[in-house]
């Protein structure tokens, strides 16, 4: 380097100045940003971007592609160079590796897929380079990130650490947005907006599969440390100590449960009456199935941005009746009295016994195959109807069907009950060991969901699990002993044979 070159000199002073101003503020330990392994090939990057990204993020990266209006959350607008998931401090640009990770792994709980399934490493790096060119402020050129937050040596997660984390959660008032139960139901949760003025909801800590930046301990710690730029989630780098941030991450991780999906809701048998209290211990024993939901995009008006992604189902039965409990989290309860529709849930059954596996159409049946529809409304309670297609409904008496429910700690629990036997032979009845088709619909009134604007499932099954017959245990025991006997006999014979010639 030639020291007399004025350009080099100025550059040096400039970079020193940038470095010093950064260092003066950050009390968090940082390390130099890792080098970018692949050089930019602008043509390839542009082509890959147009083929794979422009549909959502827009040709110019303004987050305004043709699909942008139809997804929640909205696709990222790259023109402001603001990114949520970063290893750099609040207000700073992400590192190339941060962008690479987001492209490769996608953002859970959004429509951003994990592109590592479809694009090579080289291609994903080209996209990183291209995304940086869409920054209309030119900040990636002007102030590329030099330092990133050190995330290493996570502590061992112990009960004490989690307990300490729970205290930090209280003391540092995380519950103000995320709620005491972590379900995103805090007093500040309603009406939040991001930098673009779009509505945004605090994350539900119990749903590990929706954590945008990933759900392992380091990911959660990183989010507390750097914040999510462009959203109301701030950085706590300077206001919560490092140890406490790790404890908090451990606590949040302890709230997060894994999703448990499947096709069959298995009802467990109970002796005596079915519990009416949704918090009764018997419901824990029932086990919960998470039914995945999609927007109702089949019939007009189509609904692309459902508020709920899953609904939990538990079931119990006795000799007389069956009970199905619907469990779902909702940060904002709506009873229909705030100018918005009430929250609702519905169960759909074929009305008649079917021949073979034939069923009514999965959304509200069809003219030939009616469905029995039980809808619980947070304001009005149960309404039972018969649908023969979405446009043909007739009211039906409750006829022994009961629905009771309530809202507590950011969560709804609604119990539906009905007698096992039907009123007539033609109608669907419940019997242990028989698979009964059932589908689920869910509405969040606060998000404007009502009518056909809802989250739907396809057909699942309810199965009253019959008690296991004794033979299931007797057979293995018998065969095990038989084999052991055979072995011992063989052992004896071989021993004898070995002994006899000697």
């Amino acid at each position: 380097m030639n020291p007399t070159n004025p350009f080099t000199h100025i550059l040096l002073t400039l970079s020193l100045a940038v470095f010093c101003s950064g260092a003066a503020v950050a009390k968090v330990s940082t390390e130099p940003v890792k080098p970018t392994p692949v050089a930019a090939n602008p043509e390839a990057g542009k082509r890959l971007y147009e083929n794979n990204c422009a549909q959502c993020h827009g040709a110019d990266g303004k987050g305004d592609g043709p699909a942008a209006d139809f997804v929640y959350p909205r696709p990222r607008d790259f023109s402001l160079a603001l990114f949520k998931v970063r290893t750099t401090l609040s207000g700073q640009l992400p590192t190339d590796h941060d962008l690479f990770k987001a492209i490769s792994k996608g953002l859970p709980g959004t429509s951003m897929p994990a592109w590592e399934k479809f694009l090579s490493e080289e291609e994903r790096w080209q996209l990183v380079h291209h995304v940086k060119t869409l920054d209309t402020m030119g900040l990636f050129k002007e102030e590329p990130p030099k330092e990133q937050v050190v995330i290493s040596n996570p502590p061992k997660v112990t009960d004490e650490l989690v307990k300490h984390g729970a205290k930090v959660f209280q003391d540092k008032k995380c519950w103000q947005c995320h709620g005491q139960s972590g379900r995103g139901d805090g007093p500040s949760a309603e009406g939040m907006k991001d930098d673009w003025g779009q509505p945004i909801r605090p994350v539900n800590f119990t749903k590990s599969w929706t954590f945008r930046g990933g759900s392992n301990l380091e990911d959660i710690y990183r989010t507390f440390t750097t914040g999510f730029d462009g959203t109301p989630m701030p950085s706590f780098a300077e206001t919560i100590k490092e140890d406490d941030r790790w404890a908090l991450a451990a606590y949040v991780k302890s709230l997060a449960r894994e999703i448990k999906t499947g096709q069959v809701v298995k009802a467990k048998h109970v002796a005596g009456d079915l519990p009416k209290d949704p918090y009764d211990k018997a419901w824990e024993q029932a086990g919960q199935l998470d039914v995945l939901l999609a927007g109702q995009i089949v019939l007009e008006p189509r609904w692309f941005k459902p508020a709920h992604d899953t609904v939990g189902v538990r079931a119990l039965y006795n000799e007389r009746e069956a009970a199905i409990m619907m469990v779902w989290d909702d940060g904002t309860q709506s009873k229909g009295d705030n100018g918005k529709p009430a929250d609702q849930v519905a169960l759909q059954w074929p009305q008649e016994k079917a021949a073979g596996n034939e069923k009514p159409y999965f959304v509200l049946g069809d003219r030939q195959n009616p469905v029995d529809y039980w809808r619980w409304n947070a304001a009005q309670g149960l309404a039972r109807q018969i649908f023969q297609g979405y446009d043909k409904a007739a009211p039906h008496g409750a006829d022994g069907v009961v629905a009771e429910g309530g809202y507590k700690d950011g969560q709804y629990r609604v119990i539906f009950r009905r007698p096992l036997s039907a009123k007539s032979d033609k109608e669907l009845s419940f019997a242990p060991g028989a698979y009964v088709p059932v589908a689920f619909h869910l509405w969040d009134g606060n998000q404007g969901e009502e009518g056909m604007k809802m989250a739907i499932s396809t057909w699942h099954y309810l199965l009253l699990e019959p008690p296991t017959p004794v033979t299931v245990y007797l057979w293995p025991l018998g065969i095990g002993f038989l084999a052991l006997g055979g072995e011992l006999a063989l052992l004896r014979r071989l021993r004898l044979r070995r002994k006899s010639p000697s």
Binding site: N5, P6, F7, I10, L11, L14, S21, A24, V25, L80, L82, S90, G91, M137, L139, E142, D171, K172, K173, Q176, C177, P187, S188, G191, M192, D195, G227, D229, G230, P232, M233, P234, S235, F236, A237, E238, T239, I240
Partner: protein, 241 residues
């Protein structure tokens, strides 16, 4: 030769880039001052009234009035009057060590003048969580500058790192009724107007300057002012709806 030209051009460009920060503070010998009033013609829009929904013990109850256009006797408060370009002049003073306080769930002051790139002391004087979220206002775009949660009482420092504009909006994500503005100044000749719209820029070296009055809601007005040593020059700005 060609190489030399390229370096010279590059150096020039770099100097231009740093030029924004190249204000030289020192003693001003025979300074004058610019004084005057920012006025508002017509009826001021009614203040916004936002419900205080939480932390009522600290924040108070009922509604919070957010006065965006504060007019008294025809004078406009909280406009910023500043000299757009000056290379050399008085010392920075307080704008170099700016402080914004969050007290009673209110930002103080509600129009803050800060030196560009200085560290802003963010103070939480309340026993509740505040979440200062600052935005650089670039035309119609809001861009997060920093977003920091303060669960406890105490001070933190954050850089006022504006990239393209001087206007800064300050909000609290925990209390949607808290609002304030800031102005990132290139030189110490920037002042917010007092109640009634009056202002004074003192210790101005003699010369002719472009002076602007900026209001976050109403926009900008420009005037050219000539300052003579030891004398007071007058400047007047008028906004309307």
């Amino acid at each position: 030769m060609k190489k030399l030209i390229i370096s010279a051009v590059a150096a020039g460009a770099a100097l231009l880039a740093v030029g924004v920060h190249a204000y030289e503070a020192g003693a001003v010998g025979d300074g004058g001052k610019i004084t005057g009033k920012v006025s508002f013609k017509g009826a001021a829009p009614a203040p916004k009234s936002l419900p205080i929904t939480k932390d009522n013990a600290v924040c108070g109850s009922g509604n919070r009035e957010v006065v965006e256009v504060a007019v008294k006797d025809g004078g406009l408060k909280n406009a910023v009057v500043y000299i757009t370009k000056i290379d050399k002049g008085k010392a920075w003073g307080d704008v170099e060590k700016p402080v914004i306080d969050q007290k009673g769930c209110r930002f103080g002051p509600d129009m803050l003048i800060v030196k560009k790139d200085a560290d802003l002391t963010v103070r939480n004087s309340d026993p509740v969580l505040h979440n200062i979220h600052s935005y650089e206002i670039i035309g119609s775009v809001r861009r997060t500058m920093f977003n920091v949660g303060q669960p406890d009482k105490g001070d933190i420092k954050q850089p006022v790192k504006v990239r393209r504009a001087n206007a800064i909006k300050i909000e609290c994500d925990a209390h949607d009724f808290m609002h304030a503005w800031a102005f990132a100044a290139d030189n110490p000749y920037a002042v917010s107007t007092a109640d009634g719209g009056s202002f004074t820029l003192d210790n101005v070296p003699a010369g002719t300057y472009e002076v602007k009055a900026w209001h976050p809601v109403l926009g900008e007005k420009v005037a050219t002012v000539t300052v003579k040593g030891g004398a007071a020059a007058n400047a007047a700005f008028e906004f309307s709806k």
